[in-house]
Symmetry: C3
Subunit: 304 residues, 3 copies
């Protein structure tokens, strides 16, 4: 059975730190451990950033790529083929499949018929486990630990996949963390995650005044209000409500970090100089970490 | 003059078995015989499956790829450039061109101005010779021969490129085969093919009762009713008429094979278990064979 | 600071001839000087030809590729991400970015936040410096010099990027050249270029009778009337006005060259035989030169 990557919950602390170690190693020194192996990136939904980072990761390990950027419109899908058939046809062509799909559960379906590893690169409102991995890897890189941190999660917490997955990983693999949820009233973190955190003894609170919590958090995890996933009305109500800009940036603790899964729209408005020079701005390092953790992951699932 | 692959009729028995032999060899052992060579896959019409299998074939032989998945919308074509000009511009960039086009005859036009080999990966209602090749290669793999077989071709025989090409190849390169055409009244095999078969002394009959012919055929070659190529009315009349499912699957001879060019919609409805375990289900092996026969073909046209 | 390629004006004679020399060398003998390096081709606007030639150039030097053919529709751009953020995220994945964008100035913006070289592959009505390079490289290849030539530029001179850039390069790096502008009244070369040529002492005239100037020019540089950049009315007025065909082709000097940036629509109507055999037809050699000059450029900006 191949090791599929379907959801953030599947990782435990042991695998996590094994991956961190590999990612740190690949960051320093490229090697050819996937020489001759082929990765297929099958994207039914746009995500250039994620696709390119997987492809770069594969190439940097000596691997090769076959790719489709718009599987929804251009593949057999429009002729009515099931995702399972597509995977069964494509899997002999390659050694690993990275799939992005607009339907929740698609990656799981794909993995069930695949005899090569399937990596979920986002399935609709579902999971995006490698984003969760790079987030927690970034926390590890910035703080040297994933424990005993105070983390504010800010924005659309109801629909944001990244914050949900991060809660899972912090609850499962970290300890003594504390989470502050900051969101518009109609986009609050959902009960399933709150229940999970309670079960795992992770302390959390809800807050509505960003200013007040900035000085006392280690990580300000900002997210975008996802226009494409909520109603126009809900979007207008939420837009511009929680923003980091020059007025409140100075309130953030000197040793804290601002993270963001990117892309951002207007949630963070800082000058280029601050972004280049202030160590609190961690979101571009975070994006880069995606490359190294995906190298680690590809090596892990393909070479075992 | 480069050796172009334009239509199924161009192959003779000698070339066919030379390709089979190569494909069998590549199946066992990858080599680097196309190292440094570049394949351009230029697709004016969606066909992710075909494109990825050519690209994987090229990579597995050490070759490299440049590719466009939507040449129709994104290329100079929308500025009014002729296919001939496009080919003359692109051919210095690469060592072989695989072209998929929405217009019958496009691949032939392309080949006429190209000094590198052009491979037709489907031109509208025209030909798709590498699909024909993989079909006959699959028959060879499953039966050890392409002679003396009873083959039922089922579905839209009027518009199905694959069944037409298979008739050509069986007529030209096989002997003592017998074909049973099973189709809705309005989607029958056209006269040009029937005339060709008569000329080649290939026996054929037409049938309308799938149940009755299942026990007595060696190959049940199913095809999809191609919604995108016929009228809505014709589609509704044909849809669901000839299906393999649990009700009639047991009627198929134990040593027979079910083939399908894929993608399928509802023509074959079998359980995952049957598909994984019953040797009569040959269509996923058939798809995989496409990889090896395309490796053989690329090596043949590029290295000569 | 990386060496970005943003506009034709940035090249001086020294760099130009250094690149010509490299291009000549790469034409004869491929090497592996970019082995393990990754090029990202990020295209927000269709240009298959340009993209494939960059990708082929990269592969022929041993490099690797990550690519997006439709960044506008499929990337974070539709979520509202700025071009600067996109570049900052993508640049750790690769060693050089080739960008094509629909907005004038986009490549410059991209270069300002990038710590790897950015190459402008066309930005809206702005620049397309590598096209200008391949044009002047072609003149160098065909005439052994870029001086003392009489060059007719024909077609939509108001919107044609290529003729504008060629004027810059001839003015800056050539000497004793003379330009004849031949265009419909409403699509004349703009004053900024005319002023530049005056300042650089490049002689120029405007003409309206193509027949008359054909016998006395060294280069007839034809361009397409760009339907997509002007009004329907302006297009109808200009269409078919200046054409090279069998009626006037014989008027062209035996030692002259016809160039065209391609794609063409109806501006040049010659038989396949003439195009294959008459040395005056230089536009397909011109397109091929793009490959070698882009190899030289990639090697130059990546390896320094």
């Amino acid at each position: 059975m191949p090791y599929h990557i379907i959801e953030a919950q599947q990782f435990d602390k042991e695998i996590l730190f094994k991956l961190f170690e590999k990612a740190d190693k690949f960051r320093m020194k490229i090697n050819n451990c996937l020489g001759g192996k082929i990765l297929a990136t099958i994207f039914y939904e746009p995500s250039t950033r994620t696709r390119l980072s997987f492809e770069s990761a594969m190439l940097k390990l000596g691997g090769l790529i076959i790719s489709t950027e718009n599987a929804k419109e251009f593949s057999s899908a429009i002729k009515g083929e099931s995702i399972e058939d597509t995977i069964r046809v494509i899997s002999p062509y390659c050694d690993c499949i990275v799939i992005r799909h607009y339907e929740e559960g698609a990656a799981k379906k794909a993995s069930e018929v695949s005899d090569i590893p399937v990596i979920n690169a986002g399935d609709g409102k579902g999971q995006h486990p490698t984003q969760a991995l790079l987030d927690v890897y970034t926390i590890y890189r910035e703080f040297g630990k994933i424990d005993n941190l105070k983390i504010a999660m800010v924005g659309d917490l109801a629909n944001g996949r990244t914050v949900r997955s991060l809660c899972y990983l912090l609850g499962k693999c970290g300890k003594d963390n504390e989470i502050i949820f900051v969101s518009p009233e109609h986009l609050k973190m959902k009960d399933d995650i709150l229940d999970f955190l309670r079960k795992k003894d992770v302390g959390f609170t809800e807050a509505s005044d960003l200013k007040k919590i900035l000085p006392e958090t280690d990580i300000v995890y900002m997210t975008r209000i996802q226009k494409e996933r909520i109603s126009k009305e809900d979007y207008e109500k939420a837009k511009g409500k929680f923003i980091i800009n020059r007025d409140n940036f100075h309130l953030i603790n000197k040793n804290a970090r601002i993270m963001h899964p990117l892309p951002r729209v207007d949630e963070i408005q800082l000058t280029l100089q601050i972004e280049n020079e202030d160590s609190r701005v961690a979101y571009f390092r975070q994006a880069e970490n995606g490359l190294y953790i995906r190298m680690a992951l590809l090596e892990f699932v393909i070479n075992g």
